[in-house]
């Protein structure tokens, strides 16, 4: 299946770009992600738990980043193996453009499943992939922008993790 969409993120292009290349951000944003490590250069390793229709499985896989046009676009390609549940593969072409109010993140996602996932879950896979992509990019937007209330609340030691890594990311620059 293929789907395309875009989101307006209230952040400058450089911030969005750096977030896209962060394993911490990816971990935060990939629905069901348990572990994520690696770097854009070497690729990321991930463990994701997901339930697709009747099939629930732990997918171990890799994500590679390619076709990098600095600050403008990149391609994320991932493949996860779920043992007896089969496998899922996907890719997303992501591009950024400046727009009033922030950065427009546009994406074209392609997803494929195989094995038991295809045999038992094919009816629902399109909807599932759309939901995953929506969740990923929506979470990504939230993470990059940071929850609105957090910007007010600077004293809390229960500061949301999302804000924490963003500050870290910004401070690393």
């Amino acid at each position: 299946m293929n789907l395309s969409d875009s989101k307006l993120i209230a952040a400058d292009r450089e911030t969005v770009w750096q977030a896209l290349l962060s394993s911490d951000v990816l971990k935060e944003c990939v629905p069901g992600c348990q572990e994520m490590s690696g770097s854009p250069q070497d690729g990321f390793e991930a463990t994701v738990v997901q339930k697709v229709g009747p099939v629930k499985a732990t997918f171990k896989g890799s994500v590679t980043v390619s076709d990098i046009v600095e600050g403008t676009s990149l391609t994320l390609t991932g493949e996860g193996k779920g043992g007896a549940a089969g496998f899922a593969k996907g890719g997303a072409n992501v591009s950024l453009s400046e727009e009033e109010g922030g950065t427009r993140l546009s994406y074209d996602v392609e997803a494929k499943v195989g094995g038991k996932l295809a045999q038992l879950g094919s009816r629902i896979i399109d909807g599932f992939a759309k939901k995953m992509a929506d969740q990923f990019f929506e979470t990504f937007r939230e993470v990059v922008e940071g929850p609105a209330e957090d910007t007010e609340d600077t004293s809390s030691d229960a500061a949301p993790k999302k804000k924490g890594w963003l500050r870290k990311l910004v401070s690393n620059e």
């Binding site: 009747p54 043992g83 007896a84 089969g86 496998f87 494929k112 499943v113 195989g114 094995g115 038991k116 295809a118 045999q119 038992l120 094919s122 009816r123």
Partner: protein
Amino acid sequence: MPKDSGIGASSKRREDVRFLTGNGNYTDDINIYGQTHVYFLRSDVAHGRIKNIDTSAAEAMPGVVRIFTGADFEGIGSIPCGWQITDRHGQPMQEPAHPVLAIGKVRHVGDPIAAVVAESLAEARDAAEALNVDIEELPAVVDMKAAVKDGATKVHDDLTSNLCYDWGFVEDNKGAVDEAIKSAAHVTTLELVNNRLVANPMEPRVAVGDYNRSNDEHTLYTTSQNPHVIRLLMGAFVLGIPEHKLRVVAPDVGGGFGTKIFHYAEEAFCTFAAKAVNRPVKWTASRSEAFMSDAHGRDHVTKIELALDADNNFTAVRTETYANMGAYLSTFAPSVPTWLHGTLMAGNYKTPLVYVNVKAVFTNTVPVDAYRGAGRPEATYQLERVIDKAARELGVDPIKLRRQNFITEFPYATPVAVEYDTGDYPATMDKLEEIADLSGFEARRKASEAKGKLRGLGVNCYIEACGIAPSNLVGQLGARAGLYDAATVRVNATGSISVMVGAHSHGQGHETAFPQVVAEMLGIDESMIDIVHGDSSKIPFGMGTYGSRSIAVCGSAMVRATEKIINKAKKIASHLLEASEADIELKNGQFTVAGTDKSVAWGDVTLAAYVPHNYPLEDIEPGLEETAFYDPSNFTYPSGAYACEVEVDPDTGKVTIERFSAADDFGNVINPMIVTGQVHGGIGQGIGQALLENCSYDENGQLLSASYMDYAMPRASDVPFFTVDHSCQTPCTHNPLGVKGCGEAGAIGSPPAVVNAVVDALQSGGHKNVTHIDMPCSPSRVWAAMNG
């Protein structure tokens, strides 16, 4: 008055007592001391190169006995194909190797990569998850027409292309057919798909391998329709086990529908592994596994052209078909789209010229082979659909057009190499018009329309070739073995009888019907006779059950053996009665000296055959057991006419079958109740194909319909009460019972009736541009057809 026993009686199915009370003995009920369980790790990609299989982690898992991979089967034979096709140019078909476990490449989702033998099935499954398999996924070929294009990815690297064969039949007719079509007054053309099906017998496949090291004997218990065929194929061609060291048992089998004819890798694996680990090895398929490892059925894409002269006489038929073989050649796969299909393209009609072209194609899908009807449903569907379309184009009544073109003189040699011995097609059509109340259709249509529904009537004929098969003929056609059958009639001392038959019963009611024949011949009670089937150690030989052959071929062998019994028993009776053998008559179980009241009973003669005090040893050998082999001299040709009435909901496209009537000519009928049941089941499966079932792959070769959530099996609510009649009987002229076979007819005759009816309903609703809908006629397809 109906008979209450013997030939023609509706004796109750004796086997149903055990089936209905949970006392059947199926392969999965067999558990042997010390048994291990095997789990097959199957490919989840359609096409890939195996780069590495690391078994070390899995071997360390609890309960693992041994892990096998393709490397363990290097040097072991390939799963053989039983039929070789010669193509249009005189060349043999391309025949790839089919290893027991994948070697080098995987070629379809479900292809077995490794087998884990463990103490329990759960441990075997867990260990299989720990197998580390590195497969480089390759592009998959799924679409048949794309598969035969230049440059297409090859399923088998060592073949020249994905084309198994390009077959023309009858090649010598091609020029004349082309000419007839060019000069015809009218040509109707139809392109259609015969949808891929999964047989789905209620019982999934099971195999239990056992090895006795004290005498080097192998035993395989398996869900097979033909244990002797499995013994021959597996023993001689795969594992190299001589037949006296190999016993194959197929106990109660819960439905086959063709998919249990073939020799499968799992059978060879369990037999091989039982010796390798020196313990019994058991495999039971899960339903998911069945979807991706049982041979599939149908999957043809066809263009058919029907030429007519100015008087609406059929002058020629030309077809071009792409037939999917899947990734490997299953046992009888090459014969299905050729000899079981092309030879039926004359149908019930005196079309003088027929040319059939079939391109069989390898794809990265599960192998495709015979499924109830096997080739004949594909032939019937395209022919009866194109005739219906022609009638509509010409504005003539579809029944009248058929009647006008019926073959009426027999024997009739078709232009496609077979000779129909008997038949009476106008009689079955007359019968159909009567039982289907076709004269009342218009009133029923009005009633449906008053409810806001569209009602359609579909009528068609069918002919099939059964009683498979004359061995000399099939040898010329490429069969690598003759297809005769055998029976041994063993009369015991007290007169009871065991008949060892090569046919296997897996739902057909042989245990009831076969004794009816022997009882009729001997004049004794049916309950004194049992058949023994499904065990190669008990039965002399047999080619099994498929192609509606059991009573026509094996039943004929049983008749011949029983005739020998009668001859010998008469000799013994003549001794007991001190009369001339020529004067002895057998009637109602009594041997009588003609014209006298001197007689001896059946039991007296049988006792005298085994434990006599006074016996003419120099003239007659003691004992009463005879074996006969039977080879039919021709196929049998059951035929019939079917009518289906549907209602279509114009808002949703949902099709409901309102009436279904079948008038069949099966020749003589042994047990009318069983025949009726066979027809019911066949029509049910045909309706499944026409409205519901579809095995679907995506463009990457992923199997998308591998559970009952996605593969729609017909349920009771999807079928109507059937009206079935088999009183039109033109007995077969060349077998002793005059029988033709009835097992496949319903599945052959019903799909075109349903689709003809759906198209008729839509036409009646003003959808004049709808001339065809591919099966299954699901609500979405029908709705889309109506809404352009």
